[in-house]
């Protein structure tokens, strides 16, 4: 199972710091997150970058989520 660790802003909406999911790809994971935590804003969630086991991925649409991975959602980072 993948473990999603919520940011402090997300925790205001989920009420918990982390949750585990059986889903094995990004699309089904985000759908499951929204089902379990309806307060999560879909558009905001899908607009975020993710990190899977520390590897930062800005466009995760097609990502597989390995079992036992740590997943973080965080704001898109750009630079100068």
């Amino acid at each position: 199972m993948a473990k999603v660790l919520f940011s402090s802003e997300q925790q205001k909406l989920t009420g918990v710091p982390e949750a585990t999911f059986n889903e094995t790809d990004y699309r089904s994971l985000t759908e499951a997150m929204i089902r379990r935590f309806p307060a999560l804003d879909r558009a905001s969630l899908l607009d975020m970058a993710i990190a899977i086991n520390g590897e930062i991925i800005h466009e995760p649409l097609l990502e597989k989520i390995p079992p036992d991975s740590d997943v973080h959602f965080f704001p898109f980072i750009a630079g100068g």
Partner: protein, 750 residues
């Protein structure tokens, strides 16, 4: 400093492929293109910082002989309420259009109101004077704190603070509030034996690129159009301009000229869409070139900031909690990099309890644009100054304090992920062990150290490698070359293909020749575009093996390829890359390798700087007398360019710390346009910036690259600030440390 790998080209100091053009003057920059029938565009700018436009009449200008077109905000009729990616992140199209040409209010001194195209530059200037504008002048708000006051004049009646528990019902200058935290800072402070806190301010300052914004455009009768401009991202110029003008992407070709500096400031559009409007209206090519005053007045500086930081630690130096409130000016429209300030300020430290709160505040200044590690220098200045204060209070060496609390593999970041392997400890150890750090100081001299963190980013890059029948090739990339990336691409391709470097020519293609590539920014080009180059080269190698196999009548699996030569493992045959390419017409046609990626796995980069500074107590003049910049590059593809990035970042940060600031009158008028009054460092101001390149490889890049363009601008603010504080024997809380401010500190110290 390197975990050695056996490379032929990577890590060498090769000759830059653009060198001859640059030193002979052949290289063409933004203002260098002229077209037959071309006319000139000029911009009318607001004399007020904050005013309502009550009347705008361009009829006299339009009637003037020689004037062929006029543009105003209503020409952006197609603009919708939509976010697009631009520079520091997303930009709202309505805001972008209103920044390029004011809608019904001007929001800063120099805000563009209208533009004219005429047969000559002089006629266009004259025509501007015929445009009649009447303003209802409004009181300006020139600082974030003033803008946050309950009774402050509001810039946008339709802007309501987001990020609060409840959406307010009153418009405000606070666009957004963000928050990041881990652990419990109050519990962390309760564990602390020592607490420091302070408020630290940074000024509005500009990227300071030497080349002003410039473009030449042409809008043809069939709707096809072309923009030639100096930009960090010509594909993003295409996106923004097409969205603003309701065009299809295929009808707009953007060509990136050579670029004379950008540092983040050339990641958005200003006059390119306006020039295209003027060209469409006039039926003529249009050139627009800003002068230096316009660059300072109306192109994005970086945020001024007002930041409060509190740090608690045990007597042994273990930091138990770090907290900050970061307030960044966005300029006239929302979108400061305060979120990234919150995400970076405390990230060099492994601390269980962190809290960062950020506010994005609009003021009557130009809309900020990205500037080298956008948002990080301001927040990290506050945090690093406070860490140095903590070291002094604890009686600890500031590097030992940092080593005791340094972020490392497994450290939980405030923004979420835990670090993979990073090189901060190695940078700190190199600083501690350096001869510089042990050198004695004289009277009126002080030393400061500071660290800096930047994420680095990946993103989309497209590359094609076209092989020629003689075995040479062209590397076609889409990332404008600001810091020497063509050399790096050439080296990585040569390494993969195993052919001599000079057999490969790197070029930056226009938007019609290649698929989308994100701009050069975020320290991404050598990392991400480099990965696309490697992928394209590997595609070429795969095809070389297939072609050799076909010629030898074996399978591709029976062919090995190394050092530019294919070997038949089923026999004695071998062929060079050039020999295979020479027979490509008989084995299926010419060979082209492709790499189209959205790069992932960008490796964070840390930097540590040491600054020695001397203060003249009589005048307040400061001199940086010695400076060392240490940074983890992951892998330095071209060490000279990496060292140049470290030096460039350090010099810009030193300028930010010592002299650079926008000076406004009480009415909100900018008073120090131009490089005589806006003082950036020049070569004679500074000693040689010594560099130490650390190489802790990024596991997600084939050669270990992290990216080096941005981290180097972060530490100087606090390294210089602390050096000045130590030289004077006082506290420093505000930049820049210009002579009057330093003299005041000296006098206050007595």
């Amino acid at each position: 400093m390197s975990e050695a790998q056996d490379y032929k080209y990577i890590g060498q100091r090769t000759i830059r492929p653009d060198g001859f053009d640059k030193v002979t003057g052949r290289a063409s920059y933004g203002a260098d293109l002229s077209l037959p029938g071309m006319i000139w565009g000029k911009t009318l700018r607001s004399p007020h910082a904050h005013a309502r436009i009550t009347r705008l009449d361009t009829s006299k200008a339009e009637a003037m002989p020689g004037v062929l077109a006029v543009a105003v905000h209503s020409d952006f009729a197609a603009v919708s309420d939509e976010a697009i990616q631009a520079g520091e992140g997303s930009a709202n199209l309505i805001d972008l259009a209103s920044n390029i040409l004011a809608k019904n209010k001007v929001l800063y001194h120099g805000h563009a109101v209208a533009a004219v195209a005429a047969k000559t530059e002089a006629l266009a200037e004259q025509a501007l004077a015929l445009i009649e504008v009447e303003y209802e002048v409004l009181p300006p708000v020139m600082t974030a704190l003033a803008a946050m006051a309950a009774d402050a004049p509001v810039l946008h009646d339709d802007m309501f603070t987001t990020g609060l528990e409840e959406t307010p019902d009153k418009a405000s200058n606070i666009a957004n509030r963000v928050e990041f935290k881990i652990g419990d800072v109050e519990a962390g402070f309760a564990e602390a034996d020592v607490i420091v806190e302070g408020t630290y301010k940074t000024p509005t300052c500009h990227q300071g690129y030497i080349e002003p914004h410039a473009c030449t455009v042409r809008y043809d009768e069939d709707g096809q159009s072309m923009i030639w401009c100096c930009t960090q991202g010509h594909f993003d110029v295409r996106t923004s301009t097409a969205k603003l003008l309701g065009m299809e992407l295929s009808k707009l070709k953007v060509v990136a000229s050579e670029i004379g500096g950008g540092f983040g400031g050339k990641t958005t559009v200003y006059q390119e869409p306006v020039a295209l409007i003027l060209s469409k209206k006039s039926g003529r090519p249009v050139k627009m070139v800003m002068d230096r005053d316009e660059v300072q007045l109306a192109t994005g500086p970086t945020s001024a900031s007002h930041n409060w930081v509190k740090i608690g630690a045990r007597k042994d130096g273990t930091i138990t909690a770090m907290q900050g409130k970061f307030i960044y000016e966005a300029g006239a429209f929302k979108g400061s990099p305060v979120m990234m300030g919150c995400m970076t300020a405390f990230t060099p430290y492994e601390v269980p309890n962190l809290y960062a709160e950020g506010f994005d505040v609009v003021v009557n200044k130009p809309k900020v644009a990205a500037y080298r590690a956008p948002g990080a220098p301001q927040g990290e200045f506050a945090a690093e100054m406070a860490v140095n204060e903590l070291a002094a209070k604890l009686g600890m060496d500031p590097i030992e304090l940092r080593l005791k609390n340094a972020a490392k593999e497994g450290t939980q970041t405030i923004y979420g992920p835990k670090f993979k392997r990073v090189g901060l400890v190695e940078c700190l150890e190199a600083a501690r062990d350096s001869e510089h750090y042990k050198a004695a100081l004289a009277e009126n001299q002080g030393r400061g150290v500071a660290s800096g963190f930047w994420f680095n980013v990946g993103g989309q890059s497209s590359v094609v490698i076209n092989m020629n029948p003689d075995g040479t090739g062209t590397i076609v990339e889409g990332s404008p070359d600001i810091g020497g990336s063509r050399a790096s691409m050439q080296m990585m391709a040569a390494e993969e293909l195993g052919i001599p470097l000079e057999k490969l020519k790197p070029i930056v293609a226009d938007t019609e020749m290649l698929a989308y590539s994100q701009g050069t920014g975020g320290s991404r080009t050598t990392f991400a575009t480099g990965m696309a180059v490697i992928e394209a080269a590997q595609d070429v190698v795969r095809q070389l093996k297939e072609r050799a196999a076909a010629l030898w009548n074996v399978t591709a699996e029976q062919v090995d390829y190394a050092d530019g030569v294919a070997y038949n493992t089923a026999g004695e045959d071998k062929m060079t890359c050039a020999e295979i390419c020479s027979k490509a017409d008989r084995t299926g046609g010419q060979i082209t390798g492709r790499g189209n990626i959205n790069a992932r796995g960008a490796g964070p980069s840390f930097a540590v700087h040491i600054c020695d500074l001397e203060v003249d107590p009589e005048t307040g003049k400061t001199d940086v007398i010695r400076y060392t910049a240490i940074q983890d590059a992951g892998k330095a593809i071209h060490p000279s360019y990496v060292e140049g990035q470290l030096q460039g970042g350090a010099v810009q940060g030193i300028g930010w710390a010592l002299n650079e600031e926008y000076v406004y009158s009480p009415e909100g008028k900018l008073e120090n346009m131009g490089f005589l009054d806006y003082r950036i460092p020049v070569a004679s101001d500074l000693p040689m910036i010594d560099t130490v390149v650390i190489e802790v490889p990024n596991a997600f890049h084939p050669f270990g690259v992290r990216g080096v363009g941005e981290s180097g601008i972060i530490p100087p603010l606090a390294a210089v600030g602390t050096a000045a504080a130590n030289a004077i024997g006082t506290h420093v809380t505000e930049l820049p440390l210009s002579p009057p401010r330093v003299l005041k500190l000296v006098q206050e110290k007595g």
